[in-house]
């Protein structure tokens, strides 16, 4: 199950502002609190944070909303976080902040979730390649992915372990899945 959280709605409720600018640390922290409260009441497997109503996202809020939500990892069990509806500026702001923390998150570009998922933030080149391959080919076993990439099984399993640990892919039995929200 996917829980969609519209960040623009939370911003309007939190800051009581008609503007769509998600700026300043206190505002970011308040919005993150609302996200965490919503997720605490949900048993969803994927939290989809929709930024499409947001005009401007500054670095402070990228840090408060996205990085700190990911850093509070232990509290969200096996839940995945996916970002949607990011503008180019927002994408870059989040990427810079996540790189600083050594974090990464999945983003989908289009409103209906049909766009190819992307990894934002700090990930190894192998992880990025394996993630892209899974997104293109769909669910695969580790051996199938290794074959598709021309890698050894050990290299592939290590990369998948890293992606799983950071909740950037999911697994069921022997199969590894890209994150889908469509």
């Amino acid at each position: 199950m996917i829980e969609t959280i519209r960040i623009g709605t939370l911003l309007r409720e939190t800051a009581a502002t008609p503007y769509r600018n998600l700026i300043t640390r206190p505002t970011g922290a308040a919005v993150r609190d609302r996200i965490e409260a919503a997720l605490a009441e949900s048993d969803c497997a994927t939290a989809l944070l929709d930024f499409s109503d947001i005009e401007l996202l500054d670095f402070s809020c990228a840090d408060e909303v996205v990085a700190k939500l990911l850093l509070a990892d232990s509290d969200r069990g096996g839940r995945m976080v996916v970002l949607q509806g990011l503008s180019h500026d927002q994408y870059e702001a989040i990427e810079q902040v996540l790189n600083h923390h050594g974090l990464a998150v999945v983003a989908v570009s289009s409103g209906d979730g049909s766009g190819m998922p992307q990894l934002i933030g700090w990930v190894s080149a192998d992880a990025r390649q394996a993630f892209r391959c899974l997104c293109e080919l769909g669910a695969l076993r580790a051996t199938q992915l290794a074959h598709a990439l021309g890698w050894t099984d050990a290299r592939c399993r290590e990369t998948l372990r890293a992606l799983l640990a950071r909740r950037l892919v999911r697994s069921e039995g022997e199969l590894y899945f890209p994150i889908t929200i469509a």
Binding site: A15, Y19, T24, P26, F59, H100
Partner: protein
């Protein structure tokens, strides 16, 4: 005795040092007269620097300074339109006729002089500039949409620094103008200034030890701008200026930060500024200027 501080005819980040030197010691013991009669032009940095001086003197509980307004009608009118006199009235005893802002016509500034005392003011400033920045920056400087968004983000981060670190209020203003002397192109400039404790005192308790004898205003600026340190333990803090740098690199922009007796700049190729100036005349708080030039169409 009254000490006369002559406002340079062209008041910008360079001539600001001449203005700062006029105070002698800080806080000044004598009553002050700010003589702006000969003023011909001021950048946003200069205007909010004047307000910062007035604010700092008020916070030191010194006598309210006199302020002789510019003789030039055009200059007075512009200073009025951009909101300078709206706040100067509270900080100075104004001498000379000041046109009413409404009579001076609408401001063409990216952002009029705006006080920053709380996070709500940061929201207000960013919301106001977001409405005009994209249109003006695209039309006048030919900047892409991504650049105008980054411009607002830079403004947000610079203003938040006041609220989080200064310990008092400050000011922000933004404007576009032609930078004839050093560049020969249009530029967009954000100026942010506060009368607070400055970078050295803000970082002293957490970072001075590491620098040993080198610790001072210059080292504190280096720590903040180059090493991205913060007085907060939160690892996400102290990144505001660091995050602005890729934007400055991409658009050949410049940032300079002055605090206490030092000034540190990231200097693009078009400018001749020195990266670090120390032993400057003391001026309270911190002053930040971010300059984004129009793209150099001839070299592209």
């Amino acid at each position: 005795m009254t000490r006369v501080i002559e406002i340079p005819a062209h008041l910008d980040d360079r001539s600001f040092e001449q203005f700062a030197a006029g105070f002698g010691t800080w806080p000044p013991d004598e009553k002050l007269l700010f003589d702006a009669r000969g003023a011909q032009w001021s950048s946003p940095y200069g205007l909010i620097g004047l307000l910062t001086a007035g604010q700092a003197i008020a916070e030191e509980r010194r006598e309210r300074p006199l302020f002789a307004v510019p003789a030039s009608t055009d200059v007075k009118s512009y200073w009025s339109r951009i909101g300078f006199f709206r706040y100067a009235t509270d900080l100075f005893e104004l001498h000379g006729k000041v046109p009413k802002a409404a009579a001076s016509g609408p401001s063409d500034a990216l952002l009029d002089v705006t006080p920053v005392r709380a996070m709500e003011d940061v929201h207000e400033a960013v919301n106001r500039i977001s409405e005009t920045a994209a249109r003006i920056l695209r039309a006048e400087l030919g900047l892409e949409r991504t650049a105008t968004g980054r411009f607002s983000m830079a403004l947000s981060e610079a203003c938040q620094n006041i609220v989080e670190h200064a310990g008092t209020g400050g000011w922000v203003a933004a404007q576009t103008y032609t930078f004839r002397r050093r560049l020969g192109r249009r530029v967009a400039v954000i100026a942010v200034s506060d009368a607070g404790i400055g970078f050295r005192r803000s970082l002293e308790s957490t970072h001075a030890k590491r620098f040993g004898d080198r610790w001072g205003d210059g080292a504190a600026l280096e720590a903040a701008l180059i090493q991205n340190v913060s007085r907060f333990r939160d690892p996400g803090r102290g990144q505001g200026f660091r995050q602005i740098k890729p934007f400055l690199d991409k658009w050949e922009g410049k940032i300079s930060i002055r605090s206490g007796t030092a000034r540190l700049a990231i200097v693009p190729v078009w400018d001749e500024d020195v990266p670090l100036s120390e032993h400057l005349p003391f001026f309270p708080g911190a002053q930040v200027q971010i300059t984004i030039p129009a793209p150099d169409t001839e070299s592209r």
